[in-house]
Amino acid sequence: MIHKRSEGASKKMDCDDFPFLMIEPSAVHKRRFSAQVLNDPADTRTVDEAGLRQRLQKMRVSSLEKLETSLQNVSCLFKKGGSPALIYAASAYDACNIIKRACGNTQSICINKSAVITRELKTCLAAAGLNIIESYYTDLHHKNEEFTHYWQLPRIPITSIFNAFEGEPLKSPGARDGMKKRRDIVGVIGVSAISADDGSVVLIQHRQNIKKIIEECRSVFLVAGIDKVVPTKEEALFQAKCMACFGMTALLMDSGAGSEESASMEDYPLEIPYDKSKCRLSLILMDNGRREIMQSDFLPLMTCIGCRACMNQCPGSRFFDTSSALSPRELLFLQLTEGNMALDLCLQCNVCRTVCPVNIDLPGMILKLRILQKKYHVLNYFRDFLLSKMEEIEKTGSYFAPVANLFSRNKAVKKLAELFTGISCRRDIPFFRAPTFEKIFKDQVSGHGK
């Protein structure tokens, strides 16, 4: 299943000696691949989900601790100027410049839907004036159905799909299709994991989009955040498999409505002859604020494997950003790296924390940032102070119940309250009750006692 590199790590890599692994659903699963088949009760090769989560958490924490060593190992493995080339980008802006320089006449790039691409690079690439093709094939569409909410999907047990994903080495496109012509597009693909012991780069594809980009684009950039580098190949494969199965729901939802209409790769003819020296494959390791986060209180955010499970049930995700839905993890990451995100729109429902396979306390961190970065305006300060005093307000309301209730439904009072408290006048404040439960309870107990 897995291509094993027998040569020593010091040997210079060549394009023919391709260290890339593709994680995909196995052929059987793929043939019948649909949301329903994923829920196949016949598949008995189940794994223990709690055990899986624990193993993943441990692995992520330890690989973050060893990150600097791993990064050094990786840069030794990929020698400068070799193929595939390793490029280090300090920021998204740097990475964009590198990609733009590689673009041909059409100034077009083809991207996949990895978070590192769509959330960090895409805006930058668009600003640089490049035409962006979103390669996302429609194979995952459930017949005649589009998923916009998690409850429309069948329940997908992670335990049974974990083993459906298998790794396979990517063949060198040059060696295989010798003279095949390429399209005048530069491919930009997000990577799931990189191993520091042999330089294996693991990509996940559920259908053929990634393979197609690698085979048909004139040059390809594989982009990874530095946190994707893990010490061993085994860990890299494990991390990618976890990402594939924990992220399945998010992926299926993403494949439904909401996928944007964009140009397709087919619009660009196969016209550029393959030339080994020009058709390059490069790996970009991007920092883009990650080291800074790792040195702050928000370090746990970097244990994220990028599965987007936190987005599935997030009520606010549709509102965090105007252009597309953001997962709470992406919201937090963008706030830490760029700022000015709508943190206020987190409802603090905490469901993301429960579903996260590595137990990141996302709502806790969002709350912390929200409080830290709030620029107080006197009225806001007053409003928050008031709303935090819920117990005291309700106590007072209950004490003056009949009068308070009379006022709370008065239109003029509601308008005034809207101004001071920010509570919408379209909402009805609940009626206060007197006597309080405490009083009733105590009377009851003493009544029983007599």
Binding site: H149, Y150, W151, Q313, P315, G316, R318, F319, D344, L345, L347, Q348, C349, N350, V351, R353, T354, G364, L367, R370, I371, D384, F385, L387, S388, K389, M390, E391, E394, K395, G397, S398, E418, G422, I423, S424, C425, R426, R427, D428, I429, P430, F431, F432, R433, P435, T436, F437, E438, I440, F441, K442, Q444, V445
Partner: protein, 255 residues
């Protein structure tokens, strides 16, 4: 709890009512007491303050710690299972208090953790009784259609607590119970009450509202007060038909 050992003598539980039940909807507290007593659980009401969820949301940590310390002290003294009918209070006690412990003065961490470990949402407690075969299942027939909505703070508690309570409620003869999972109702405590969030709040809850309007149930049940307010705001179901599950149980017991 749940052990037969406990049942030789009537078991004992302390009610953590929370602000909503105390000042806005005492009937839920009374329903909880009635149902628990009907199952031979003696209920007490220790001295208590707000769980501190709103204080936490706005970052007033000092006052949060004061209230938490007060609550922990009196709950520890009660020395029994703690039952919170409000899922948000249960969430705060079970999931957030443990992380506050190292910042609280004069709190023995292990003791406090042991106390918090015995915190249950009221339906969780009853579902446990049911699981161990200790629940009084002398329900009368209720011929009605009921929709259950699971609040987010219930979903964010560890372990899946939803199935247990659904199994319990299905014991009521004649009841046509349906759990409609349509995500969040959009209220999120004070979030939906705010003017600036009104449209977002309504749009988040739209699917839930639509589903309820289509099904036209006799009763909607959900544990969270915020969800009940939102459902009342969004749907044609009148307020008195949106209840806490424990109120439905009381109705079924005919108490």
């Amino acid at each position: 709890m749940g052990n037969n050992k406990y049942r030789e003598t009537p078991s004992h539980a302390a009610l953590f009512a929370g602000c909503t039940i105390n000042f806005i909807d005492p009937s839920i507290g009374l329903d909880s007491c009635a149902v628990l007593r009907h199952n031979a659980v003696e209920v007490s009401y220790p001295r208590q303050h707000c769980c501190g969820l709103p204080l936490r949301a706005y970052g007033y940590n000092k006052r949060l710690h004061e209230k938490a310390a007060c609550n922990l002290k009196s709950l520890k003294e009660a020395g029994c299972d703690i039952i919170a009918p409000c899922t948000s209070c249960a969430y705060m006690l079970k999931e957030e208090y443990p992380s506050l412990l190292n910042e609280l003065h004069g709190c023995d961490e292990t003791e406090c953790l042991a106390t918090l470990d015995r915190t249950y949402d009221v339906m969780e407690y009853l579902a446990h009784l049911h699981e161990y075969g200790l629940l009084n299942t002398g329900f009368r027939t209720l011929d009605m259609s009921v929709i259950y909505h699971a609040p987010c703070h219930l979903k964010s508690l560890k372990n899946n607590l939803i199935d247990g309570r659904l199994r319990l409620l299905q014991m009521i003869p004649g009841l046509r119970l349906e759990w409609i999972d349509r995500g969040c109702c959009g209220m999120g405590g004070v979030f939906g009450m705010k003017k600036k969030n009104h449209s977002a709040s309504i749009s988040i809850g739209a699917e839930l509202g639509r589903a309820i309007n289509v099904l036209k149930p006799d009763l909607v049940i959900t544990e969270c007060h915020g969800c009940r307010m939102q459902i009342e705001h969004m749907t044609e179901v009148p307020g008195q038909q949106i209840r806490h599950p424990v109120s439905l149980l009381r109705l079924a017991y005919g108490l």
